[in-house]
Every structure is written in C-alpha cells, then in structure tokens.
C-alpha cells in the first residue's frame, strides 16, 4: 500500500516539475497532457487506497524521513491514509484530474499554458501533503504550499493590476491566519511535547481546559483564513481574478475546505472544548447567511459562485462545530463535486462570451450551449438541495444536526439561507440561460466549449447527482475514526414536516428566481432603477463596505505609518541621533582647532594651564582622600 501512497502523493509533483521544464518555452500540449495523466494515476492510487480501507484494512501510515529535529523537537515527513484523509484524497485527485483535463481546453489560447499546469499540479501536490500529513508541521507545509500556489494562480495573468492585487491580498490575509495557526502549533508542541496527531491528541484529555481552549482558538484562526471565514473573507471573492479552472479547483472544491478538514482532523481537540464548537457553528451560520446575502445582488457570475462557496463553507463549519464531523466532511465532498461543476460551467460561459462576467449581458444561452446549460442547472439544483441530488443529502443533514442539537437559531438561519441559496443560484441560471438574448447587443457569437471539456466535466455531473447515495457506506467508513453520532429527528412526523417543508421552501425560492429573472424586460442595470438606489442594495453590492473599510482603515494607515516610520522615526530620530553624536565631535574639533594657532607662546600658555589644572586636581583628590571622614561627617551633618 505504501507504493500507492507515494504514487498518489508524488505524481502531481512529478507532473508539476515536468510542466515546469517547459515553463519558458511556447505552448506545448504535452505540458498539459502529462500532468493530467499523472493526476489520473494519483487518482487511481487514491482509489486503490480507498478500496483497501473500505475493505477493512487499517490506515496506512508511513514515515518517509526526518524533517526537523533538535532537542526534544522531532518532526518527520510522515503520511497517513485513514478514513478521513482518503476521503479528502479522493475529492482532491478527482476534482483536480477533471480540472486539469478541462484546463487543457480552457487554457488553449493562453501563452502561459505550460506554466499554468506547472502551478496547478504543484497545488495538487501541496494539497495532498496537507491532507495526508500525519503531523501539524506537515499540515502547515501543505497549508502554506497551497497558499503559494493560490498566489501564483490568482496572479496568473500578472499583467492585470487587479489580478496581482487580489493575489497579494489572498496571500497576506492567509498569512494573518497562518500566524494563528502557527501559535496553535506551538501550543500543541509545548503542551503535548509532539506534533504528531496521534500522540498529541492522545495527550490532550489530560490538559487543562484553558490550554485546550487557546489551542482550539488559534488553530481555528488558521482555519478561518484558509476557509475565508468572516472577517478574513474578502480575499475569496477577489480571488476570482484567477483563471476559472483555478477558481473551480482551489477556491471552491479543495483549498478553501482545508479549514474544515483541519477542524475535522482535530476533532479530538474540539470534542473537548464544546464552547469553541458552538462559536465555530455560530460563526459558520453567520457566514452562511452573510455570504448568501451578498450573492443575491452581485453582477459578477464568478463572484456569485464564490459567495455561494463561502456560504456553503459556513454550513460545513456549522456541522463541524456542532460535533457532526462526518456530516461536515460529507457536505465538503458533495459540495466539491457540484461547485466545481458549476465553476467549470461558468468557465464555458465565459469562454463563449469572451470573458464577459455580467450575467445581465447574457441571457438565452441555453440554445447555443446546451451541454453547459444542463450541467449548470443540475449543479444548481444540487446546490439548492433538491431531492435526490447530492446537496439534499448533505445539506439537509446539517439542518437536521442543528435541529437535533437544539440550536434553533442556527437552524432557522440555515433554513433561511437555503432559500437564499436556491434563489441566487437560479437567478444566475435564469439570467444566463433563459430570457432574451441580450448578448446580441454586444455583438458576441457564443459557442459551446470543446467536447472533451464537457466530457471531462461529466464525472462531476455524475457525482453531483448520485453522491447522496453513498451516504451510508460513507458513514460506516468514516465513523471508524470520527464520532459516530447519527442525527435523527425524534418523531418521524417532525422529520417529514421538516424535510418536505424545506423542499417546498427551496422550490418556491427557485420558482421565484425564475419568474423574476426570465422576464422579457430584463435590462442591463445602469444604476437608475429604484432598487439599485435602495440602501440594502448598496450595502450588499458593496459587500457591506468591508473591503472599503479594510482599504481605508487598515491598508492606508499601514502605508502611512510605514512611511512615517521611515521618514520621521528612522531618519529624523534614530539616525539623526547617531549623526548628532558624530556631529558633536566634529563640532568640538571645529571649535577647538583655534587652540592650535601654531603660535609657540600660546601653546606654552595652554601647556601651563593644563599642568596647573592637573596639579590642582591631584591636590583636590589628595585632600579629599585625606579628609574623607571629615567630609563625610560634614555631609551627613548637612543631611545629604
């Protein structure tokens, strides 16, 4: 099994290096095909590992070599394939294989084609390290590695100012969270003496609650950055500047779910601190609603999907926070499939529309792009959580968890958000594929994507439809390591009312969206309509003015304080003091050079003066030593 483990882990790296060889040369198809094939290999290896684990073999645990060791610190490159990590491996390798193949078509005309595959495969490698590592330090390698690749890929079109800005924003925001993560790792090390998951978690129950709480808090701060939870969420929407396959792979299916994975992985810790769990769940519910509200009005197709991702991550955190780790992981998996599908579909639309992102400028594309239309619709249905697609099983489960655990506020928020989700998803579908063919005004002739791209997407489509049916198999597998709590609403009547009610609510939201946005009189908004001038709209379209606030109250002051430090503190205080001291000496020299008049007579006078001064000093000291006791007496008499 070790062979498969290493194959799964390292073939993306090989692919990345292979593509990097062609980094400087003009586009070569092979630089895309080989990494994709290697990813396929990685996927097959992961599948073999999955089968092995499903058939009851234990986790595969290997230690490749030592990384750091000094004193009591010992960190190896160790990898573990257990029920949790194999799930993640499957998701990562499957989605990334699909995205790679898709990208061969999508990036066809880009001159950075080779470079793109190098970065993308490097990302997969980092992600594999992240999920397979058997210790916190290895997790951190992957954690930063995906951050790096995300930076490279968001800023892939580096000539665009907005892209590079977004890349830097993403990296720096993640760094802020990474500091929290690092502190969390330090806490783990100094309190348990190791960074290996197994030993560290085993030691945790005997620790004080305070320590555990801080551990949980700091690790979760790390998770908040990667998973773009409030208030570190702004980078995710801006990250949509990257090529669409990147958005599908990194900013929807895999990297952003790393935070959820961390919480699930650290479940023995979070299990001990339920208060933090409640906090995580509340924050998750808040983010779910918060992000969904921003998706309602946005006029950038990719940003809408990004907010929807954010919202779904909120759902996952609710499940993880409430202790339903397997549910969180299950939703993570299902979400990866339909969200990647949605993004890739959006990529097709973008291609067809010459990189136009405003759905108001599209409309009626279902004729020109039948395949994409079907796929995106099904993905949206899955996202909305309509029976029997994947979203129904995973998302409704989270609602049930909240209900069963008696967190009715969270339940209500999530239920309401489910409606919003359905609404904005179908707002998008309706605007893009139905109604008037508004794109004609802009002289665009849309065309369907390459056939192989659609075929590449089909596994995702398939899984988005049927992923729900794996629920019980999955439950049995993953609960061998995660707490096996099943969530059943106590009375079957309540259960049916809830389920059917939710379905009806969601369906109503879908219908409302269709009705509203398939109308013939939809126009490209020009900022004059009444709705666009309403306060709520302005608040939402400006993302609650949070990016503005960050820019105004964080970025600008930082820049100003920096230049203040440089020009005033560093140059005018610190350096001026040093120069001032040197200047004093120069000045003294300058002033006293007149003594060296060269006139022997004057020099002799100075000499005599010096002799007299030294002699009198000697006399004074001699006397003061001689009469030391008397002087002391005198001084004490004066009360000194």
């Amino acid at each position: 099994m070790e062979l498969f483990l290493y194959t799964a882990l390292f073939s993306p790296l090989v692919g990345s290096l292979f593509a990097a060889l062609f980094g400087a040369s003009p586009k070569t198809k092979i630089a895309g095909i080989i990494p994709s094939a290697l990813l396929g290999l990685s996927f097959i290896s992961s599948s073999i590992l999955l089968v092995s684990i499903l058939s009851g073999n234990g986790a595969v645990h290997v230690e490749m070599m030592t990384w750091m060791s000094a004193g009591n610190l010992y960190i190896p490159f160790g990898f573990v394939v257990d029920q949790v990590s194999v799930t993640m491996m499957m998701v990562v390798t499957l989605v990334s294989t699909v995205v790679h193949v898709y990208a061969i078509g999508y990036m066809d005309h880009d001159k950075g084609f080779n470079r793109f595959f190098s970065y993308l495969s490097a990302f997969v490698f980092s992600m594999m390290i992240l999920v397979m590592s058997d210790n916190f330090a290895g997790l951190f390698i992957g954690w930063e590695g995906v951050g790096l690749c995300s930076w490279l890929l968001i800023g892939f079109w580096y000539h665009k100012e907005s892209a590079t800005w977004a890349a830097n924003e993403a990296f720096i925001m993640n760094r802020i969270a990474d500091l929290g993560m690092l502190i969390g790792i330090f806490l783990v090390y100094w309190n348990t003496g190791t960074l290996q998951y197994e030993q560290a978690f085993a030691a945790m129950p005997s620790l004080e609650n305070d320590v555990l709480t801080w551990m949980g808090v700091f690790l979760f701060i790390g998770a908040m950055g990667k998973s773009a939870q409030f208030p570190l969420h702004t980078w995710l929407a801006d990250a949509m500047e990257g090529p669409t396959p990147v958005s599908a792979l990194i900013h929807a299916a895999t990297m952003v779910t790393a935070g959820v994975y961390l919480v699930v992985r650290a479940h023995p810790l979070y299990h001990l601190i339920p208060n933090i769990g409640i906090f995580i769940a509340s924050l998750g519910a808040f983010v779910a609603l918060f992000a969904a509200s921003m998706a309602l009005v946005n006029r950038d197709m990719k940003r809408v999907i990004a907010y929807s991702t954010l919202s779904q991550l909120g759902y996952m955190f609710v499940a993880a926070g409430l202790g339903a780790y397997w549910v969180a992981l299950f939703h993570l998996m299902a979400h990866a499939f339909f969200k990647a599908l949605l993004f890739l579909g959006a990529g097709n639309v973008m291609h067809a529309m010459h990189d136009e992102l405003d759905p108001f400028k599209m409309g009626g594309l279902n004729k020109a792009m039948k395949g994409t239309f079907i796929m995106m619709t099904i993905a949206s249905v899955a996202l909305a959580g309509i029976y029997p697609l994947a979203g129904f099983f995973s998302k409704d489960l989270i609602l049930e968890v909240a209900f069963v655990e008696n967190h009715y506020i969270i339940y209500t928020v999530l239920l309401f958000t489910a409606g919003l989700t359905a609404f904005y998803s179908f707002r998008l579908v309706a605007l893009i594929f139905h109604g008037e063919e508004r794109y004609k005004l802009f002289g665009i002739h849309p065309h369907e994507a390459y056939k192989f791209m659609l075929i590449a997407m089909s596994p995702l489509l398939f899984l988005a439809v049927i992923a729900g049916s794996f629920k019980m198999t999955y439950f049995e597998m993953v609960t061998q390591v995660l707490p096996a709590s099943e969530y059943h609403v106590h009375s079957s009547l309540t259960f049916w009312i809830m389920t059917i009610g939710t379905q009806l609510f969601v369906a109503a939201a879908i219908l409302f969206a269709y009705k509203k946005y398939t109308r013939r009189d939809i126009k490209v908004p020009d900022g004059t309509s009444k709705m666009e001038n309403s306060f709520a709209y302005k608040l939402l379209i400006n993302q609650y003015y949070i990016p503005f606030a960050y820019q105004e109250y964080v970025v600008k002051p930082y820049r100003e304080v920096s230049s203040l430090f440089w020009t005033h503190v560093d140059q005018k205080i610190v350096d001026a003091t040093v120069d001032g001291i040197a200047h004093t000496f120069y000045k003294i020299g300058e002033e006293t050079r007149d003594m060296q008049s060269g006139n022997l007579s004057i020099m002799l006078k100075w000499m005599v003066a010096g002799t007299v001064a030294l002699l009198s000093l000697a006399v004074v000291f001699g006397l003061s030593v001689k009469y030391a006791t008397e002087i002391k007496l005198f001084l004490s008499g004066l009360g000194v």
Partner: protein
Amino acid sequence: MMQIGLNHYLVLSTILFSIGLIGVMRRKNLLMLFFATEILLNSVNISFAAISHYYGDLTGQMFAFFVIAIAASEVAVGLGLLIVWHKKHNNIDLDFMSTMRG
C-alpha cells in the same frame, strides 16, 4: 641666626620656577624663552640637590647633573636652530612662527 633649611631651598626653587613659568608664558623672543627654560630647569636642579642632601642620598644630585647635561645639549641644538631661523627670517619673534597652525 636663622638656620638655612630644606624649606628655604624649596621656596627658592618655587620662586625660580614661577619666574621661569611666567617667562615661558610671557616672552615673545625666542632667546628669552630659552633663558626662561633654563631658569625652570635650574629651579628643579636646586630642589633635586636640596632634597638629595636632606635625605643623604646622592641619586638626586646625580639626576641634577643629568638635567644640566641635557639642558646644555638642548640649548646647543636650540641655539643652532635659532641662528638658522634668524638668518632666514631676520627676526626671532615667536608670533611669526606659526607655520604649525591647525
């Protein structure tokens, strides 16, 4: 009759030293400066000899001879330089010798 003791010699030496010191400070003529220096040195010689006699130790008197010898050589060299300077510049006023001005 007052006995002439060590103190008297030392007072004499001090007076001579002061005269020499004032001469060193006030005189502008190089030749006079040499005279003043000689007075300084000889004031020291007096105290050497006196103290040497007082302690019955000949070292001090020996040292006085050294001083005399060195003073003589110093004056010889100094006077030589002085004559050269006088030939070149036709005066020996100290205020004109300021080539070492800093």
